[in-house]
Amino acid sequence: METKKSKTSSILYHSFIIGFGFLMLYPILWMAASSLKPEHEIFLNAASLLPSDFRWENYAQGWQGFGRYGFDLFFKNSMIVTTLSVVGALFSSSLVAFAFARLKFKFQGILFACLLATVMLPMQVTLIPQYILFHNLGWVNTFLPLVVPAFIGGSPFFIFLMVQFIRGIPRELDEAAIIDGCSWYGVFWYVILPLCKPALVTVMIFQFMWTWDDFLSPLIYLQNTNLYTVALGLRAFSDPDNLTAWGPLIAMSTLSLIPQFILFLFCQKYLVKGIATTGIK
């Protein structure tokens, strides 16, 4: 009786999740299906999920990119920028969060407010002064304006997130380490950082996702086509006054999801378990 009941509820559960999941995924599936349709069919035969016949031309044409700049180059650039930004975010958010979570220092409240305030100002208005700054440093048209900010705590979200993780770690652990003669640096390095591994994975995934999708900074700072990232390359397909190459655009958009998809696939175990296991053992 009991097993029967749980079996029914299990079937209900799975069919709900799958049905609802299909609804969630429908837009993405539509995109993937459209990438295989001939260009004019994308709009004229829009509602259908199945292409009238499968065509890979959109991928071939999209991958070619623009002149001699193909999407292979854009993917490579995106990889470089994203990887460095991820490293930067891990580096800065763990250090800074440690200070806010574990140390007591002057102006702590004010500094924390400053940290939060930086996310409250729309970036459009700091764009120009920042551009002038980076231009004077000679950084425009390099990856530096995209990457350096990650190393110097450019994302308060992660710092805030890490602060929470670190607070979840029982304080006795570091107190014990200090009694054993460990410095704060030692506590950070030997106690906190190892326990934060899952949290760092979270930061990694979010930072990867946001850097990969970001087009505003690349738009402003990358001039030469050989530095373009995928997000910027995708936008170069579209000209509302003329005909946007929707086929190749959709094909390349689909392709651009794959690195994030793979990353999440491998990390989701950590991601979920991650936050939960801080501080245990």
Binding site: F43, K197, N242
Partner: protein, 453 residues
């Protein structure tokens, strides 16, 4: 232990990346323009024509444009041709989608880092001219550095702000009525033609709609310059006065008649309601493309994209004329090339502009992508071999030239804001949120407010 090992490897990766990063930052290729710019100006007047490459200094020009994949491919090909002919010139190019262009150009201009040559549209010219970013090209026309032997002065006219030529027309276009000839044939209705009035336009549309059971007879055209502007011109007025300091008309009835014309069509089921109109603004959604109307007003150069999107052929003719027989039409520039007033190599930029304008080989690649070439020699050369949709544009510019008047004065610097404001006001009426009279008051008040800021 294993966990600890993983952490150490993570840290190792961080350290390695840091090293790589540090290395990157030191030998990152610096902005190529800056490197060569500092060597000073290269221009000894007029020497570029015959000079061979080893006498000339190597220079880099930055060229920025927006477009779609097709335009990028064609332009890159032309740039390579130019570089092959002029080995001392390297063209650094930056291409974007249209949506991002304005932000990038403004930011670069603010940072004193705008490209040497870039695309412009008419509505941006006044603002950038006022700010001193655009060079006056007239001296180079006068000196013959940009060869205008085969170019009619009227083709250059749209690029003037005051007496400065700040934008070089990349190719002509004009507002046009595109129609689906098969629908007219099937319905047994005479094709729209030059000289038709707005009443003819509605009647022909209605006849096709009824015969074929289409959703709508016509698509409303409520753009500021293309819709209301042409309407005003047909009555002898224009949107703004000559100086761009106020409205160019004072008869309220003009505005009310214009709006009521479309409102009545919508009420009769001849024109689509506002929500359909709003959603069909991009080419792949045009009602003409989806086969829901027999005709629609477009820009003549959009015929290529419209035909491609619908996967069929259309014909072009003029917009309906005013009751007085006034066409209100004028030939426009589809877009402009402008030169940065602060460029270090004005002569080289001009030479490149001349190439973009007068090179037959370049235009064999462009195939009218930036409008119908303004050089008559190139038009004649290209016409025979061009694709049908490109030919249609050529023919249409010839046709419209017979009916066109002088181009209107340039819009005020806030023209773009005004266009958006006008469309918003009209849509409020079409959505039934405001009466035409209320809209009129709001429009008059708003335009003055925008101009006075």
């Amino acid at each position: 232990m294993f966990g600890k090992f993983k952490i150490f490897s993570l840290v190792l990766v961080i350290m390695m990346a840091l090293t790589v990063f540090a290395a990157c930052s030191s030998d990152e290729p610096t902005d190529a323009t800056e490197g060569s710019d500092s060597n000073g100006s290269s221009d000894s007047n007029g020497s570029n024509e015959e000079a061979t490459s080893d006498e000339e200094e190597d220079i880099v020009l930055r060229f920025m444009w927006w477009g779609n994949q097709d335009r990028h491919d064609r332009t890159l090909q032309v740039i390579e041709m130019y570089e092959a002919e002029n080995p001392h010139v390297t063209i650094d190019y930056e291409f974007l989608g249209f949506d991002d262009f304005s932000e990038r150009l403004a930011t670069q201009a603010a940072g004193g880092n705008a490209p040497d040559i870039f695309q412009m549209v008419d509505r941006w010219l006044p603002q950038y001219t006022q700010s001193g970013l655009l060079a006056d090209l007239q001296p180079y026309i006068d000196s013959g550095a940009i060869n205008t032997d085969n170019i009619d002065q009227s083709a250059l006219d749209p690029g003037y702000i005051g007496d400065q030529l700040v934008g070089l027309n990349s190719g002509s276009n004009a507002f046009a009525l595109a129609f689906n000839p098969d629908m007219f044939d099937e319905a047994g209705v005479e094709y729209p033609q030059p000289g038709d009035t707005w009443a003819d336009y509605v009647e022909k549309g209605r006849a096709v709609q009824e015969a074929l059971g289409l959703d709508y007879a016509v698509r409303n055209d409520v753009q500021h310059d293309r819709g209301f502007g042409i309407w005003l011109r047909q009555h002898g007025y224009w949107l703004y006065n000559e100086e761009g300091t106020g409205l160019g008309w004072d008869d309220d009835q003009l505005f009310l008649d214009y709006i009521n014309f479309w409102l009545d069509l919508e009420a009769e089921g001849l024109a689509p309601p506002a929500d359909v109109l709003e959603a069909t603004g991009s080419i792949e959604n045009y009602l003409l493309v989806t086969g829901d109307v027999p005709m629609q007003i477009i820009h003549s150069n959009q015929i290529v994209a419209t035909s491609a999107a619908a996967n069929r052929n259309f014909e072009l003719t003029t917009l309906p004329f005013g009751e007085s027989g006034e066409s209100g039409q004028y030939v426009r520039a589809s877009l402009f090339f402008s030169m940065n007033a602060n460029t270090e190599h004005p002569d080289e930029v001009v030479k490149f502009m001349d190439f973009l304008t007068n090179s037959i080989e370049a235009h064999e690649v462009f195939q009218g992508d930036r409008g119908v070439p303004i050089s008559s020699e190139i038009r004649e050369h290209l016409y025979a071999s061009a694709e049908r949709t490109v030919q249609q544009q050529f023919e249409y510019i010839d046709l419209i030239s017979e009916h066109a008047g002088a181009a209107p004065p340039p819009p005020p610097p806030t023209g773009q804001e005004m266009d958006r404001f006008f469309e918003n006001v009209v849509y409020e009426v079409l959505y039934g949120l405001k009466t035409p009279e209320e809209a009129l008051e709001e429009y008059k008040r708003g335009v003055q407010d925008i101009i006075d800021r």
